[in-house]
């Protein structure tokens, strides 16, 4: 599969055409269906009912909606750009891109403050950006420069910023879950109302660390929230193969924890469910699990030829399962935000990423003494 050319994806009105396509497919075998049912079918066949009403029908005010769009757009720009830069060979090592999953990270992180802590996976750029980690420092870290978030010592898979409550992307799947139990334990001990959120994928949900953490969080009633970002693949292996029952809510139920499944491509569904779960945890209601069903736009890692995908799968995702496009459709159609306002954010995000790449490329490399420092606080 050839590498994708660089392109800035702009929101387009796709939802209507999607409906027409589905309607046409259904129209063929249906001959005896009455008009009201046909109408209902046509309307219902869309993935989600799109409110065509004017006015703010959303749980966020306009500023909040713009902030959400800004975060998602920044993540998408960042990841698309890293994809392009990686293809030139300038970025060392491995990167794992979050493009397509923005609604999940953003919808959750908008409820968090710096004192709340998250632990991420190898696919951590989106979580970092949504948690407020500096974008330029992130880019510099990916390039292995000394002004990177981790002074070039961690790389893409280990970007962290403890001052923002980001306990690191992690190269060991499932390792974040016990760490978040610890963060939640610290929060509970101090009584500061903070929560901890552990992100895992559908694959890592099979790790013992994850399952043990569900139990530990339950028995200690920790303000720990486990988010399963179910994008259907663990590297090349589909969850249909690897996960005995594709329901993480059922796994949580096994430990007495409540669980909620949402469409991870629907920012508002994620935002609302995450809000309730986080509020409950802050108030001492204990741990819970949130499953976000989603897709990922790129491969497991950059360079992954994705031969495990079905024919046309990636094109279908780009066309029909773009969470940012769907968000844009809804807010524009409601009249709360104009296309021009979104376009302005697109430009800002693009400029920020441009700046970040330039910054990263120009930044200095670590020196030889950086090799041996910061192993210990003191030795």
């Amino acid at each position: 599969m050839a590498k994708k050319p660089a392109k800035k994806s702009k929101p387009t009105t796709k939802a209507k055409s999607t409906k027409r396509v589905v309607k046409a497919k259904l129209a063929k075998p249906v001959k005896l269906v009455s008009k009201p049912v046909k109408k209902a079918l046509g309307k219902r066949a869309a993935a989600k009912p799109v409110p065509k009403r004017k006015g703010n029908v959303f749980p966020l005010d306009k500023a909040g909606l713009l902030a959400a769009y800004r975060t998602m757009r920044t993540i998408r720009e960042f990841e698309e750009r890293v994809h392009d830069e990686f293809a030139t060979g300038d970025i060392p090592g491995f990167v794992h891109l979050y493009a397509g999953e923005e609604a999940s990270g953003t919808g959750i992180m908008m409820h968090l403050k710096d004192i709340d802590r998250i632990a991420s996976t190898h696919r951590g750029h989106g979580h970092c950006i949504a948690k407020g980690v500096d974008v330029k420092a992130m880019m510099a870290e990916i390039y292995g420069k000394v002004t990177g978030s981790c002074r070039g010592k961690g790389g893409s898979m280990h970007i962290a910023d403890l001052s923002k409550g980001m306990m690191g992307a992690n190269g060991i799947l499932g390792a974040g879950a016990p760490l978040i139990c610890g963060a939640a334990l610290a929060a509970k001990y101090r009584g500061d109302g903070a929560v901890g959120i552990s992100f895992v994928g559908d694959g890592a949900s099979n790790q013992g660390t994850f399952l043990e953490s569900l139990n530990l969080a339950a028995v200690w009633n920790l303000p720990a929230i486990f988010v399963v970002e179910n994008n259907g693949y663990a590297e090349s292996t589909s969850r249909d193969y690897a996960v005995a029952v594709d329901s993480y809510v059922d796994r949580a139920a096994g430990f007495g924890l409540p669980g909620v499944t949402v469409d991870g491509l629907d920012f508002f569904a994620v935002y609302e469910a995450a809000g309730e779960i986080i509020r409950r945890a802050r108030e001492g209601g204990g741990p819970a699990l949130l499953e976000c069903k989603m897709i990922r736009m790129f491969g497991h890692f950059e360079g992954d030829q994705q031969t495990y995908r079905a024919k046309g799968e990636v094109e279908d995702i780009r066309a029909n399962k773009d969470c940012i496009k769907m968000f844009s459709e809804r807010v524009v159609e409601s009249g709360v935000i104009t296309r021009a306002e979104l376009a302005s954010i697109d430009d800002t995000a693009h400029a920020l990423i441009e700046e970040a790449v330039a910054y990263a490329k120009a930044a200095a490399l670590p020196t030889a003494k950086d090799l041996t420092n910061d192993v210990y606080v003191s030795y």
Binding site: M167, P178, L179, A186
Partner: protein, 335 residues
């Protein structure tokens, strides 16, 4: 004011004093209180061999019994440390490291480095080590080399009650992850231990016996055996210098090099298995740094390359004996 107490009591005292001094110190582990959720006594055990007994009553809510779930609770201790707490997590037997090693060596050990210096993980992981308890292969190992190999971890293994208290206090105050090894056969041994709080710095070996003929470099339970060997050899006029390493990472290379240079003859005694042991680590360093000073080949006395056997007769053969240490000294003296 010093008085004779056991290593078990010394460790308990160290925890007690640090918990009193610093509210961010919490202790967790399996059965460290004991009786959780049951109808019997509270504080039923105070640890499987009683090291934490009595602390639960003094520090309510700061000693947490855990489910049988090492990767979760060791990981939680590490996560809490990264968030500013000072947890002391008990791994019960260091042999159980297999189920939680990732949290220790890939997470705790590497946070400071991977995050560009912007993280601190002041966690202490206490664990029992060593053979002689008839606890068989999966509860008797000396796995210190696996941990000293990992950059970012510190490894401590006291040989007596006095060192145990001072080194545990230092471990808790230290800002790096520390693996604190407690030899289960030494819990009952006594020493003069001051009642007040004191800390012994890491990377400072203790020369427990001066001697000019041969250096025995060792740690843990092997210190006592080495002292017995030295006493026996002294009858024959061979004066051994016995060096108790106390901390294996950082290790006191200065004292190692000094003693090797002084005597020119080195015997490393290690309860671990021979391949990649502490003994081989020290021997290599001595060979590199003190080659000219050496008068004879370095000797290593270790356990054999086998798991720990159960049958007492066999286990006693497994652990390096006084006789084998004496033989090793004689061998290096022979040249």
């Amino acid at each position: 004011m010093a008085r004779k107490i056991t290593m078990r009591q010394a460790l308990n005292e160290a925890l007690d004093q640090e918990m009193r001094r610093d509210p961010s110190v919490i202790v967790m582990g399996e059965d460290i209180v004991g009786g959780a959720g049951g109808g019997g006594e509270e504080d039923a055990w105070g640890g499987v061999l009683g090291v934490t007994k009595g602390l639960h009553g003094k520090y309510r809510g700061r000693l947490l019994d855990t489910p049988l779930s090492e990767s979760a609770y060791i990981g939680a201790a590490i996560g809490a440390a990264a968030c500013g707490m000072r947890p002391v997590a008990e791994l019960m037997f260091l042999d159980f490291m297999g189920v939680c090693f990732d949290q220790i060596f890939n997470q705790a050990a590497k946070f400071k480095y991977m995050f560009g210096g912007k993280a601190e993980t002041p966690v202490v992981i206490r664990a029992m080590v060593g053979a002689g308890f008839r606890a068989a292969a999966q509860h008797s190992q000396m796995l210190t080399p696996l941990f000293t190999h990992i950059p970012g971890l510190k490894v401590v293994c006291p040989s007596n009650a006095y060192d145990a208290k001072g080194l545990l206090i230092q471990s808790i105050r230290d800002n790096d992850p520390v693996i604190f090894c407690e030899h289960k056969n030494l819990y009952a041994t006594e020493a003069d231990v001051p009642a007040e709080s004191y800390a012994i710095p890491f990377g400072e070996a203790n020369v427990v016996r001066d001697g000019k003929h041969c250096s025995i470099i060792t740690y843990g339970m092997m210190v006592n055996r080495s002292m017995d060997a030295a006493a026996e050899l002294a009858k024959g006029g061979v004066e051994c210098e016995v060096v108790d390493l106390r901390t294996l990472s950082p290790i006191d290379w200065d004292t190692v090099i000094d003693t090797a240079t002084k005597t020119g003859r080195v015997v490393c005694v290690d309860e671990a298995n021979p391949r990649c042991s502490i003994a081989s680590d020290v021997s290599a360093m001595v060979a590199q740094e003190c080659f000219k000073a050496l008068k004879g080949p370095i000797q290593m006395v270790t356990a054999p390359h086998t798991p720990v056997p159960f049958s007492p007769f066999l286990e006693d053969l497994y652990i390096p004996s006084v006789a084998s240490i004496v033989a090793a000294v004689k061998k290096t003296m022979a040249n």
